[in-house]
């Protein structure tokens, strides 16, 4: 096991700054922090996670921020709300500053558009922004991987609602071809973070991208779908904690 660990770690730290990033979209997995039963997420956990990244030679590069917005329909008769999508989500991603993404999770629809689509939605007045969440923090370079660790906070509040982590593998765009190395990386990560005895763990539940008509070749639409699913899982997790308290 330790031989495998050293081999993979050598691959990770043998970063060649002249190696070209994939000319197509590198793939990523988005994880969310699942607190243990009876515990909650807090900023101390976020600090520990960030320190853990740095302890495995992650080089801090800068800040990142994504925003997820819940839209609600403007209805003349609220009794007919069941006729309209339960979750209509808009997402802006830092790697695509001129784009905006819509996801209808229950309809399995994802749309990529120019960011001017937000102005069109405002003019249509049929759907309005209900609540927005910011995912923000620092990003780190770790060999051929790029990590982003971030807090989840409502846009007009500093209440920490969750912690997310993005693991991006730069050389490959194929979901299938990257499975093994992503799992190997996560095993190393788990080994490192477990030493800190934190009350929880990072979880990744991969959405079925084919349900959304998305192929094996990774795109920002895949990222938008991941953030939608992570958010619903975070909300379920928070609600479970609140139910437990009650």
């Amino acid at each position: 096991m330790s031989v495998v660990y050293c081999h993979i770690f050598r691959r990770l730290i043998s970063y060649n700054p002249y190696r070209k990033k994939s000319t197509t979209m590198p793939l990523k997995r988005v994880f969310f922090w699942q607190p243990n039963a009876g515990s909650t997420v807090n900023s101390q956990i976020l600090n520990e996670v960030s320190q853990c990244v740095e302890s495995i030679n992650g080089v801090k590069e800068g800040r990142w921020k994504a925003t997820l917005t819940f839209y609600k329909p403007m209805l003349r008769d609220q009794a007919l709300s069941a006729e309209f999508p339960r979750e209509f989500i808009g997402i802006s991603l830092p790697e695509q500053p001129n784009k905006y993404y819509f996801v209808l999770r229950f309809n399995k629809i994802v749309l990529e558009s120019d960011s001017s689509i937000q102005l069109i939605m405002e003019k249509l007045q049929s759907y309005k922004s209900r609540v927005a969440l910011n995912f923000e923090g620092f990003q780190y370079q770790l060999g051929d991987f790029q990590l982003r660790v971030g807090k989840v906070v409502p846009s007009h509040s500093e209440n920490l609602r969750g912690i997310v982590m993005e693991v991006e593998y730069l050389p490959i765009s194929s979901l299938e071809k990257s499975k093994q190395i992503m799992e190997e990386f996560f095993d190393i990560w788990q080994d490192a973070i477990s030493k800190r005895s934190l009350p929880g763990r990072f979880i990744h539940i991969e959405p079925d991208f084919s349900d959304y008509g998305l192929a094996d070749h990774y795109t920002s639409q895949h990222t938008a779908v991941q953030y939608t699913h992570v958010t619903s899982q975070l909300i379920a997790s928070v609600q479970a904690v609140q139910t437990g308290r009650n």
């Binding site: 329909p73 209805l75 309209f84 749309l111 120019d114 003019k123 249509l124 007045q125 049929s126």
Partner: protein, 218 residues
């Protein structure tokens, strides 16, 4: 916002002459136009006012591309009546191919659909101007663009549009009006919704253009 004028031509030979004239005036090659325009309206319960949105599918590309377009109300008031072009807000956004499914899922319904077929010129003359000469066709079956027929056979729509901001729309209005003057021997463009007749010089101008391919100065 955008500024526009249009014209309905009743004779196809004028279209060929117009094409020659435009080729000379614009200084750019024409581009073929084949756009499926899907006009959606919000369903009865959605929104406190009815909203409309247009989805444009460019069928001339090897892989069809989609644009979402919202056209707002026209500028109104005494000032607007003084202006010789129509000024109204317009917002466009490129979108991926799921856009029609998305709007249907959001509660929008198909109001009507059209297929515009023709030519277009994009050039700079005081403003980035687009001239489109197209036939407007309707589909006999839902989304059947291969079976479209003209809404008004023999009639083409000529549109001259240019984008503008609230700060520069007067300059853009002047640029569009000035360009339209060059087309006067052949056709008279007016604000959308205002009908015009055939220009008296149209036949002679068209004949002249057709006889020497546009070498004659009008």
């Amino acid at each position: 916002m955008c500024c526009s004028r249009n014209y309905r031509d009743t004779d196809l030979q004028y279209v060929e002459a117009l094409e020659i004239l435009l080729q000379g005036l614009c200084g750019v090659n024409k581009e073929r136009l084949r756009v499926h325009e899907i006009c959606l309206k919000s369903g009865p319960n959605l929104g406190f006012v009815v909203s409309e949105v247009r989805l444009l599918c460019d069928l001339e590309q090897s892989e069809p591309t989609w644009t979402v377009k919202h056209v707002g109300g026209a500028m109104r008031g005494a000032g607007a009546e003084q202006i010789s072009v129509l000024v109204r807000s317009m917002v466009e956004s490129k979108a991926s191919k799921n856009v029609l499914r998305l709007f249907y899922a959001l509660g929008y319904k198909l109001d009507h659909e059209l297929l515009r077929v023709g030519i277009t010129f994009h050039f700079q003359r005081g403003a980035p101007i687009t001239v489109t000469v197209s036939s407007v066709n309707k589909m006999l079956k839902l989304h059947a663009t291969d079976e479209a027929v003209p809404v008004t056979p023999g009639i083409q729509l000529v549109e001259v549009t240019a984008p503008a901001t609230s700060e520069n729309y007067n300059e853009v209005v002047a640029a569009v009006s000035s360009f339209c003057e060059y087309l006067a021997p052949l056709l008279h463009l007016s604000k959308p919704g205002v009908s015009t007749g055939v220009v008296p010089t149209a036949a002679a101008a068209a004949a002249s253009l057709m006889s020497d391919g546009g070498g004659t100065t009008l």
